[in-house]
């Protein structure tokens, strides 16, 4: 049967061969010859592989000179010579051998040398030693960590909290855990460097909006909405986030959270709030900017803060609903791949939280002191105060720049040195000039803590006035 079928096909083929026009046969013949030629010719090599001989390659290797690993740093670079603090950086600080009143450490609630905090840390040291010798997944989870997470979640009134062992790594690991390539993040221009690094690691599309300008943000959101309508399938899988800080480190003012919540529900964007400076400062009980504005905490998707300011410990935490926080336990890089927080620092943080809960009036005291110095620093000729009146971390910027950033920095250094020589420890705000997206102008950082008395605040203000008078005029 099959043979008969094959024979039938062969007869058809031969018949077709006779009946085909000549040009058709010639064309097919040429094509067959071409295929045979291609089959037997050598594979096509990229030009450069065949061009360079071994000797030429060796010459190239000989000739190549790399740049030095690091460029030399001039000896008088302002950031090279650190202030050396001998002894604890508490209210009275010994900087470079001189005793000064500390207006430069973020010790807002004065918990750095609190005896109760230190004794809690001592007890933990006696029980656990110093290090944890492992990441959270591999026998690095201690009962103190679990307790701290529970206490933070209870304090902030959220479902769950997660702690990191380094403040910078907290927000820099949290953002890439949720926002991936292709997602869109709207971030304020004045966001701190840790947020910028988190955004860079996430590889998402970043859209900057002008600082605290809700109209600009709304414009960007509307633009995004029109983009979405062009491509609804892509829009359905693109996640959107807004990243703002509660109290901005670079400008000292707060974000307009109620308007942000309205925008959130209108354009369906999630909000990540960075509360490093506002945790333990704003709000009636120190719960941060959500308490300050009286907003339901579940409206904010993720709150991230570091424990290095008000809590006077080391590390950071994120809190929010379990739906969101639990994801970081497997995909937060700084959580999974890094050793956990030393237990003595966690115990110190728990005790600091206890003190915060037991004495809610320190927040009022702090706010009163901030208002006091804010008023006292007004009217200094040559320096303007940047920051809200209740912000404990202010900036003093030059009213008129003298042309270049370098000269501004030198001028401000003279003011700082004058103040340090007279007993007030201040510092300039430090930035990485080439790496920041929107570099803030040079400024002096003034930090107010609960331990400073009215007399000391007045002394600082008058000293700054003197310095500005003599140096800037």
């Amino acid at each position: 049967m099959a043979a008969a079928g094959q024979q039938w096909v062969l007869v058809e083929m031969v018949q077709a061969f006779y009946e085909a026009p000549t040009y058709h046969l010639i064309l097919e013949g040429i094509l067959i010859l071409w295929i045979i030629r291609l089959l037997f010719s050598k594979t096509y090599k990229l030009q450069e592989r065949s061009d360079l001989t071994l000797k030429e390659k060796e010459e190239l290797i000989e000739e190549w000179q790399p740049e030095p690993l690091v460029p030399p740093v001039p000896k008088d670079h302002p950031a090279l010579n650190y202030n050396i603090v001998s002894g604890p950086p508490t209210h009275i600080i010994t900087v470079n051998g001189k005793e000064c009143i500390n207006f430069a450490s973020f010790n807002f609630l004065g918990l750095l040398d609190n005896e109760k905090v230190k004794s809690a840390a001592q007890a933990s040291l006696k029980k656990y030693g110093v290090g944890t010798c492992g990441p959270r997944g591999f026998y690095g989870t201690f009962d103190v960590h679990l307790e701290l997470e529970e206490r933070l979640a209870k304090f902030m009134r959220t479902e769950e909290a997660i702690i990191y062992s380094y403040g910078f790594a907290t927000i820099a690991s949290a953002i890439p855990a949720y926002s991936k390539r292709g997602d869109i993040v709207f971030v304020d221009e004045a966001a701190c460097f840790a947020i910028q690094k988190g955004l860079q690691a996430s590889r998402s599309n970043i859209k900057l909006f002008k600082h605290n300008d809700m109209a600009d943000l709304e414009r960007l959101l509307k633009e995004q909405e029109t983009e979405d309508q062009k491509n609804p399938r892509k829009a359905r899988v693109t996640r959107r986030f807004i990243v703002v800080e509660g109290l901005y480190m670079n400008t000292g003012d707060i974000c307009p959270l109620p308007e942000l919540i309205k925008l959130k529900y209108k354009y369906k964007v999630r909000i990540f709030l960075e509360e490093s400076l506002s945790f333990g400062v704003l709000g009636e009980h120190g719960r941060g900017i959500t308490e300050h504005f009286g907003i339901n905490i579940d409206d904010i998707d993720l709150i991230s803060a570091n424990m290095e300011n008000s809590l006077a410990s080391i590390g950071g935490f994120c809190c929010g609903r379990s739906f969101i926080i639990d994801h970081q336990r497997l995909s937060g890089q700084g959580y999974c791949f890094s050793a956990s927080l030393p237990p003595l620092l966690a115990a110190a943080a728990i005790e600091a939280l206890n003190i915060m809960e037991d004495n809610p009036d320190i927040f009022q005291t702090l706010r009163a002191k901030c208002e006091h110095i804010h008023k006292a620093l007004q009217g200094i000729s040559g320096l303007k105060v940047v920051g809200e009146s209740f912000s404990p971390a202010l900036h003093l910027q030059l009213e008129e720049s003298c042309g270049s950033r370098e000269n501004d920095v030198k001028l401000l250094k003279r003011v700082v040195d004058y103040c340090m020589n007279s007993g007030i420890a201040l510092t300039q705000a430090r930035y990485l000039e080439k790496e920041e997206k929107c570099l803030p102008p040079p400024s002096i950082r003034v930090v107010i803590t609960v331990e400073q008395t009215e007399k000391e605040l007045d002394k600082a203000a008058s000293l700054l006035k003197e310095a500005a008078q003599s140096i800037l005029n």
């Binding site: 997944g137 809590l311 410990s313 739906f323 050793a339």
Partner: protein, 518 residues
Amino acid sequence: INHIVHNGGLYKRPFNEAFEETPMLVAVLTYVGYGVLTLFGYLRDFMRQWKIEKCQNATEREEQKDFVPLYQDFENFYNRNLYMRIRDSWNRPICSVPGAKVDMMERVSHDYNWTFTYTGRVIKDIINMGSYNYLGFAQNAGPCQEAAAKVLSQYGAGVCSTRQEMGNLDKHEELEKLVARFLGVESAMAYGMGFATNSMNIPALVGKGCLILSDELNHASLVLGARLSGATIRIFKHNNMQSLEKLLKDAIVHGQPRTRRPWKKILILVEGIYSMEGSIVRLPEVIALKKKYKSYLYLDEAHSIGALGPSGRGVVEYFGLNPEDVDVMMGTFTKSFGAAGGYIGGKKELIDYLRTYSHSAVYATSMSPPVVEQIITSVKCIMGEDGTTIGRARVQQLAENTRYFRRRLKEMGFIIYGNEDSPVVPLMLYMPAKIGAFGREMLKRNIGVVVVGFPATPIIESRARFCLSAAHTKEMLDTALKEINEVGDLLQLKYSRRRLVPLLDRPFDETTYEETED
């Protein structure tokens, strides 16, 4: 089997590293196992979607149900269906110092690992083979702890400022000088977190227009640092010097990918001991290559500092090389020093540059003083400057423990990866079910082990990883070995066919190795 290496003259000591090939049957069964789990996963997802089974996941808020979903269902498939089943092997909470023996809080789950409850009981004296406690400095008594307690009462726990502002304490300067002396380099700088040391300093050293050659199995922090720097990244096969040389030659000859301009600089990223493989970097060959092709070497000694070398000074001393040949020596204080943080050591120009331009110096809080004191005391102990020989004794004890443990495990017939001298001992499990089973069986016998699976390892190469410590006595090791033997028989883990064919050692091109069989 002794490998006589191609560049034999560079090695002053035998380099015995072996990665036995996965037996074919085991590989097939492992894939079958994952296949079955995936099928069941789909079945359970189906049942959950049709509400036949209760969904235990946390869910989105009602008010935000119409937002774009935060997690794609598929991303979490592995998490929901495979990881959840054996979740109790990880994140085990302990409540004592993480020394050679540890106390663990007992936890039970009544709903198949979705939630845990603590019974309140404490399981005491579990032999700890999981913590990175190589020299046994995780102690809650002794000179280190006393010094740390004194500094804690004097300085407090936190610092509340960055290094460049008001956070540079005299303790930090003391630590950095000591670390530089310990390593044998000109100068050093210390940071608060080991992970952050890599991810914040590599971007300061290289940028666009530079080339990074990174090992296949580098740690997440090195990968993140390389990505954040913006340089071009090329990967060479794990510990394979031929692959590295080929990449170096190609890079210099052909230049940058499209513009053909020469590279500004080339940085090679390697680790001292790779924590998942237990292999040690071929440092003599890497340094020879680096010198020949004028590139720079970044050595991450997270696991090898304190653990290798006759006096604990790391992989450079282990091979008898000059620390000045390594351009950037990075390490962490978490593993061998019982503290937390990282350091970078090198020439003075490098450290001055990092003091000015490192992200961590400008934006991150400096190290906590009691932690710094712990490091200072432990480094002095290792160097012998505290007047005792405890440090030296511990380093020797660790080396002995390593050799003994590895030899006994190999004799029992398990497949053990890595170098003979590395205190990180990976024992191959391969099949997904054995991951959970091994962890649980060992815990029943009062031994705490670490098991790792996908995604930290390739999917069929799940393993149990033992971290040896100088604090382990021979009795503890013998107890552990006895139990491992029992569990190995119970779970049929003795895969080794005693033909130690080097798998990852195979050269990139046709250079042959001489092998002598015992």
